[in-house]
Amino acid sequence: MLIPTGFSKLPSKEGCFNNQILFGGTVAQMASAAAQLSNCKFLGEAHYHIGQEVLATIGGMISFATGTSGSVKTNRTYNFLYQSTPLSSHLALLIQYRAANFEATNVNIKAKLRATGSNSYTGTILDHGIQFEEGLDLTHDRDEVSLAFTGSELVSAPTNTQPDPVRPLFVPTSNRGDLLNVVIETTQALPITVHIYDLLIPEVTP
């Protein structure tokens, strides 16, 4: 069945009263509305803003290069916890970042998925993940914020042990509903926001 993505109008409750013929259409509308809730509205998402140092006298961000932490540094590792749902199968990432220095180094952003057993940052790797490449997936711009996106292809369970070209991260069946760690490693790129989304699966076999 197709998963509805909108709040369609529900049937009249009078149609369910005694002495009324309960047409299949009424039940079908209820089934579709319930599927919209479970498989669309209540999919998970997480929105991280990464705070940077600002000028003390101003108190807020006026640019994305202010202060010591705001300048691009190499080889940083970030851990983003994500509370998956029982229906989290593919995770899309939207990353706002700034990157430069393509001519001198290999600028990239890697993302992989780990379990969080014992509250560890280095739990079992669930998906060895992906790499955003300079010139292909990443934009060289010292001044403006750029956007990197994994796309939304519903990939099969990956078998890679080195980062793949960009694709959504895959959550193994046994880990759906778990607290997960989306690990992002940057080389000469500085993320400012990281958004994590469960992807909608448009068609599901009931």
């Binding site: 006298t57 961000m61 994305f64 940083r76 749902t85 996106f149």
Partner: protein
């Protein structure tokens, strides 16, 4: 009769209810199961996420007392979701540092706190994050609550934050008998075996199902949450308020669902925390120009009036840019070189957006 649910949920097949096909009890049983699942689990993903880069936000010791670090408004799924799990990544310079998180309910004024929880790492991402649990023990009806993070750094030294994440625990299956509440709305769980073969299909099932679906459509989803720093140590300068750069990043690209403008009660709620209030100021958020009417938290209920963004094609959903707008008005309101915090202007120290 058990109000149970299946995880992951099983869907009722609408095509099985068309003319010429037998209306199987499977569909009705699954429809009951699915409602129970949506009530118990829906909205129990992340409700709070924020991150600070290295050496950005450090909280000083305060003679052994707790210092507030941040405040957010967060969504609560229902009046029965009473356990909030909070995960904090932080490290301390001296052993003995702790943090306490709490939620406060506006209607009653009641506040519920976690126990003081030890911060043990002594370097960033050294070992593991720490989890604290808030248990709401009273009968509370608010579905948006004020969340506070407090930190007690051991002397001498400070605590440096890396990130915070939180979620409400789902209700376990089966749901208890009787009715549940979500704010002032009602949800009646469905006995799944009652919908099996050879049992009458009551009018009550249909009416309650329609009411349940209406209730669940109103349940809040966190679309964006950000808090400025409330107490950073001297020489350490995280953002305290929204700055002129922030319209470029203080938003989420999120799905909002068609029909929400045509159905009552489906609105987006915006909360802003105002410091140094002065009358007559306005701020542009979510495509609306909002009048700031008081110091502290201002709340707005807004209808969708934005244009869809091109990401809709990728997500197969209607996606919108939800957050702080990039507008000339905001450029003059937000902290900037011409509007410095040390001149005590009005500024925004918190922004939370809850959709449906």
């Amino acid at each position: 009769m058990s109000n149970s649910y299946t995880t992951p949920p099983t869907l009722a097949d609408p095509s099985r209810t068309t003319a010429g096909l037998t209306l199987r009890t499977t569909e009705l049983s699954r429809l009951g199961d699915l409602q129970n699942y949506a009530f118990a689990v829906g909205g129990c993903g992340d409700v709070l996420n924020q991150y600070w880069d290295e050496e950005v936000f450090e909280i000083p010791q305060n003679s052994g007392a707790n210092l507030d670090a941040c405040r957010w408004y967060i969504a609560r799924p229902s009046n029965s979701h009473n356990e909030l799990k909070v995960r904090l990544s932080a490290h301390t310079i001296s052993a003995g540092s702790t943090f306490i998180v709490s939620v406060t309910f506006d209607t009653t004024g009641n506040k519920y706190s976690s126990p003081a929880t030890a911060i043990t790492d002594t370097a960033r991402f050294q070992s593991g994050f720490v989890e604290a649990t808030i248990t709401v023990s009273g009968a509370e009806t608010d579905t948006e609550v004020l969340f506070n993070l407090g930190v007690q750094a051991a002397n001498p030294g400070y605590v440096e934050l890396a990130f915070i994440e939180a979620r409400w625990s789902p209700l376990s299956s089966p749901l208890s008998a009787g009715s549940f509440s979500q704010g002032s709305d009602t949800f009646i769980p469905q006995g799944v075996s009652r919908l099996g073969a050879d049992l009458p299909l009551t009018a009550r099932f249909g009416v309650e199902t329609l009411a349940n679906l209406t209730t669940l459509r109103k349940r809040g989803r966190m679309l964006f949450a950000w808090s400025g720093s409330l107490n950073a140590r001297s020489g350490n300068n995280p953002a305290q308020g929204l700055g002129i750069f922030d319209p470029q990043v203080m938003f989420s690209n999120v799905a909002l669902y068609g029909g929400m403008n045509q159905i009552d009660g489906l609105e987006v709620k915006v909360f802003i925390n105002v410091v140094n209030y002065s009358a007559g100021s306005v701020i542009d958020i979510f495509g609306h120009r909002l009048s700031i009417t008081s110091a502290g938290w201002n709340e707005y209920s807004l209808k969708l009036r934005l244009e869809e963004i091109t990401l809709s094609d990728d997500f197969n959903l209607s996606m919108y840019r939800v957050g702080l707008d990039d507008s000339p008005n905001n450029a003059s309101l937000l902290l900037s070189i011409n509007n410095k915090i040390n001149t005590s202007p009005l500024y925004i120290s918190g922004l939370s957006i809850i959709g449906v």
